[in-house]
Structures are given as C-alpha cells and as structure tokens.
C-alpha cells in the first residue's frame, strides 16, 4: 500500500476523529490531575486562567492552519478536523472566561463589567470571545445550508479577528517578557499572510484568464 493510501485511510477513518477528540481533551485532563495533586502553583486561579488562555490560542492557530496545510500537503481530508479544533478553541475560551467570572471575581458582575470597559486587555479579550459565539453556534452543516456557503464563509472569517485580538490580549497583560505573545503573533501573522497571498494569486489567475478570453484567436502567417 502506498504511503498516500495509508495516510488517506487514517485521515478518513472515524476512529481518527475519536482519537483526535480525546487528545484535545488532554490539556483539560492534565489541569484536573494537577488540581487533585495540589500542583496548580501558589496562585491556582491565575495558573488556570493562563493555561486555558494558552490552549485557546493554540487551538485557534491549529484551526487557522488547516486550510493552508490542506493546500500545501494536498490533503483535503484535513477539513474533517477543522470544525472540531475550532470548537475546542471555543471550549477552552469558555473555560478561561468561566474561571475569570466564577473563581476570580466570584460573580461580581458590576466589578467585571467595569473591568471589561476600563482594562483594554480585557476589552479585546472579551470582544474576541464574543465574536466566537456566533461561529460556535453556526458550526454545523445545517447552518452552512441555512446561511448559504458564501454568507457562512464570510461570517466565519471572524476567526481571523478573534485570533488577532487574542494575541493582543496576551501581549497587553504580560509585564515584561513579551516573547511568547510575540511568537503567537508571528504564527497568526504567517497564517493570515498565507491567506492574503493565496487570495492575491487567485485574483491574478482570474485576471490572466479574463485577458486570455478577450484576446482574438491569433492566426499564424506563413
């Protein structure tokens, strides 16, 4: 069996989706395990908030990487995993936000709303979270049909905005060591640049095709 057939077999098997789903839950499992073993540092609320924030950014980056990887590796089957990764990004951001609401501020809504308005890093984080909600709600095939492919695709481009806002949120909360937020920024920039690049190439091909169609047929002279 060729390597291509093996890879295709793995990517299209339903068991692969189950395995990947379970792997995506491992970060949460580790945090729960650490909780039971008193291994959440002296400031567990900050630690849990930061870890769930990290995984939100990582899943956003993974989700954004699917489309370029499909094209570059000629593996269209990767599309099967994109929704799962996107929903896991939403899952981890919900955990991140719940920890902030429930554990950190203990449902003190007026204080929290003040924070959202006044602390710019929370403003951008909250905005990024809110923008993901319609994406999570319309993630099913049913919604692609209801909205129509083009509308659905335009709505789901909001993930670009969330990814950028997530990086800025992280950059603005760090005290001095900005290396990790800048690294995520670099990854998001590369993934967005790829899309801009392939859109421009697409436009160029369209333009060339237009010109070719409009040229009259050339006649060879003897």
């Amino acid at each position: 069996m060729s390597a291509g057939k093996v890879i295709n077999g793995i990517l299209t098997s339903k068991w692969t989706k189950v395995v990947v789903f379970l792997l995506c839950l491992v970060p949460l499992a580790i945090l729960v395990w650490q909780g039971f073993h008193d291994d959440l540092t002296a400031d567990p609320i900050t630690y849990l908030t930061h870890r769930t924030g990290d995984w939100t950014l990582r899943f956003l980056v993974i989700t954004l990487a699917i489309t370029p990887l499909r094209k570059l590796l000629h593996l269209p089957q990767l599309i099967r995993f994109r929704r799962m990764f996107g929903l896991f990004a939403f899952f981890y951001v919900c955990l991140h936000f719940s920890i902030w609401i429930g554990l950190d501020h203990f449902f003190n809504w007026p204080e929290m709303w003040k924070d959202v308005l006044k602390r710019r890093y929370i403003t951008v984080g909250f905005t990024g979270f809110v923008l993901l909600i319609p994406l999570a709600l319309t993630s099913t095939a049913g919604w692609i049909r209801r909205l129509g492919g083009k509308q659905w695709q335009m709505l789901h481009r909001l993930i670009y905005v969330t990814a950028v806002l997530g990086v800025i949120h992280y950059y603005w909360l760090v005290k001095s060591d900005v290396r990790t937020p800048l690294f995520y920024g670099f990854l998001v920039a590369v993934l967005l640049a790829w899309r801009v690049g392939s859109w421009l190439i697409g436009k160029r091909r369209q333009a060339v095709a237009e010109i070719a169609r409009k040229q009259p047929a050339r006649v060879e002279t003897a």
Binding site: A42, D43, T46, D104, K118, L173, D177
Partner: protein, 326 residues
C-alpha cells in the same frame, strides 16, 4: 558437497580467553553505562544535587517576636518559595525555585557608601550581629494583584543607616542587587535591566517599618526569596523590596529604579499600595490572597491603602498627590 575443503577461520580469529570468559561482565558494563546515561538524561537534577551543595536555609536563633505583627493567616512556606518574581533566575513563577540554587551567597558583603560620614562594608556575620533579630509578620502585596503574609526576620534598616551617619546631603537611598553573569539571565532574556536597582526617599528608608531582612519562617532566606539579605517595605508593591542586596548608597537625587526604567508609565518611584490608583493595564482595587489550601474559591479581598499600614506611614505623604507620585 556439504563441507568446505579449506577452513575460513584460523587461529588468529579465536577470541582471546580473557574476553570470552568476561563477556558477561562486558555486557553488564555496557548495560550499566547505558542505564546511567539514560538516568542522567532523565533526572539531571539528582546529579546536580550531588555536586556542590546549594545554600540551604539554616535556623536563626535568638529571634524575638515583634509586637506589631499582623494576625492574618500566614502563607504556607512552600507557596512563598515556589512562586517568585526573581527575573535574574527566569521569568516564570516557578523558575527561581529551580534555578536560584546557582546563586553564590557566600562569601557575601554589602557596601554602604555615598553621602555618609563613615562608609564601610559589612559581611553577613557582621550584619547578623548589629541588632537583635525580630520576627515581623508583614502583608506583602505584589503589583500583579496577589498578596501573601510572610514572617520575615531582621531589624529596621535605620540601624545600619545610623551606623554610617548619613550627611545632610543625603536625601535618598539607592539599593543594588547582586548580578552574577554566569548563573543569571541576561537583561535581554529577562526583559528588564540588570543589575536590579531600587530606591527610597530618606524618610521612607529610616522609617521603623522598613526592614533589613535576613530570614523568613525561622530560617535564613532561601535563594529564590533573595538570599542572603534583602529589603522589605510592606506598604509598597513587592518589586520595591529588593532582593540579594550588595550595595546601599545614600544620594542627593532620586535614584533610578529598574521597573520604572522598564515602563515609566506603569511603575513609579513611590509605588505605594493604593486601591485608588490603578496600574494602566489592570485594576489595583482588589488582590488575590494566597494562603493555605488549594485557593480556588473566595480568595479575592479589597486592597487597603498603603497595604493596611496607613496609620504608620500616611504621614510621610501628607500633601502629596499620590496619583501623580505613583
């Protein structure tokens, strides 16, 4: 034909008897070496611990109880020794507990100089004998909005100041941390300039609450908490309580301070704990108190002005706009 006519093995090819008899030892030796290398790669800290011993805190004797200690619950020692901002040893909260073992704390001397009549150096032995040691349980509030309660050991900084006799020109005190290039991160890696420097106004430095600190929890300071000598100024944000002190200088003008150099709009010279003056990026109205237990619920408390030491220190700032002089 089933056999060859000429043998292809000669006497030269016979394994020497010694090696043949010892082949089991050879195999065991190879196995042991492989195991040792694998173990070293997996547990390098065990081997490191076998080398020159990191300075381990030793009990401090004859420590008296200070009558004004807070009665709030003391933070367990393993939280105070495993959650540190000591960027010379890494910017992660758990890094100094691992890496500060490399800090060389002996021999140690502190030089006291500048606008003083009697500049001199002190060794740690001399420092430990200058005044009776007191255990003072202070609240310690980080600018990141978390706080701990720590039983520090030391005596008022003004003891050492009076010994060197500051002149009338001395208006401020500048402090400097040790910088040991072989074992500490570079300024670039940490994101702040080294050596770490701090400063106080003279009256702040001479205030009885300002502690010259040699220990905590009944013992000398662990490396990650600023061994062997540090300052503790409990009414200011924790970054002003400089660690691993090597130089004290009495000066005429307001001295530079590391975090103010790094972000002047965020960390001021005074940095008094103040719930009404927020950090530009986050609120200072509340803090998370790190205490015993897992600490997942109900740890947020209101921040007090001057970290609750207003009765003792507010008079230092009468008439000052604390928002401008943050």
């Amino acid at each position: 034909m089933l056999t060859k006519t000429k043998p292809d093995l000669t006497y030269k090819d016979i394994t020497p008897k010694g090696i043949y008899m010892g082949r089991r030892n050879l195999l065991l030796g190879l196995l042991a070496t492989t195991g040792a290398v694998a173990a070293y790669k997996k547990f390098p800290n065990l081997v490191a611990a076998a080398g020159p011993a990191a300075s381990v805190p030793v009990p401090l004797n004859g420590v008296g109880k200070w009558p004004y200690s807070t009665t709030e619950t003391v933070t367990p020692i393993d939280k105070v020794t495993h959650y540190n901002n000591f960027y010379e040893f890494g910017t992660g909260k758990g890094d100094p507990a691992d890496l500060a073992r490399k800090l060389r704390t002996s021999p140690w001397s502190v030089s006291v100089e500048g606008e003083v009549a009697k500049p001199r150096s002190f060794t740690m032995d001399e420092i430990l004998k200058l005044a009776p040691l007191e255990e003072r349980i202070y609240r310690h509030r980080c600018v990141e909005a978390w706080s701990i309660v720590v039983p520090w050991i030391g005596y008022s900084f003004n003891v050492i100041a009076k010994l060197v006799e500051p002149t009338s020109k001395a208006k401020y005190v500048a402090f400097q941390s040790a910088y040991q290039p072989g074992v500490m991160l570079s300024s670039y890696q940490a994101g702040i300039d080294f050596p770490y420097v701090e400063g106080l106004r003279l009256d702040e430095a001479m205030h009885p609450l300002t502690l010259l600190c040699v220990g905590m929890y009944g013992e000398t300071l662990p490396n990650q908490d600023g061994a062997p000598l540090r300052m503790v100024i409990p009414w200011k944000y924790g970054f002003k309580s400089i660690k691993s002190l090597v130089k004290i200088r009495f000066v005429k003008d307001e001295p530079p301070t590391t975090w103010n150099i790094s972000a002047p709009s965020e960390y001021g010279f005074y940095s008094n704990v103040n719930p009404h003056v927020d950090h530009p990026r986050w609120s200072q109205a509340t803090e998370r108190r790190l205490g015993p237990g897992l600490g997942l619920f109900n740890t947020r408390i209101s921040t007090q002005i001057f970290n609750g030491y207003g009765d003792q220190v507010a008079s230092l700032y009468t008439g000052m706009d604390l928002r401008k002089n943050f």
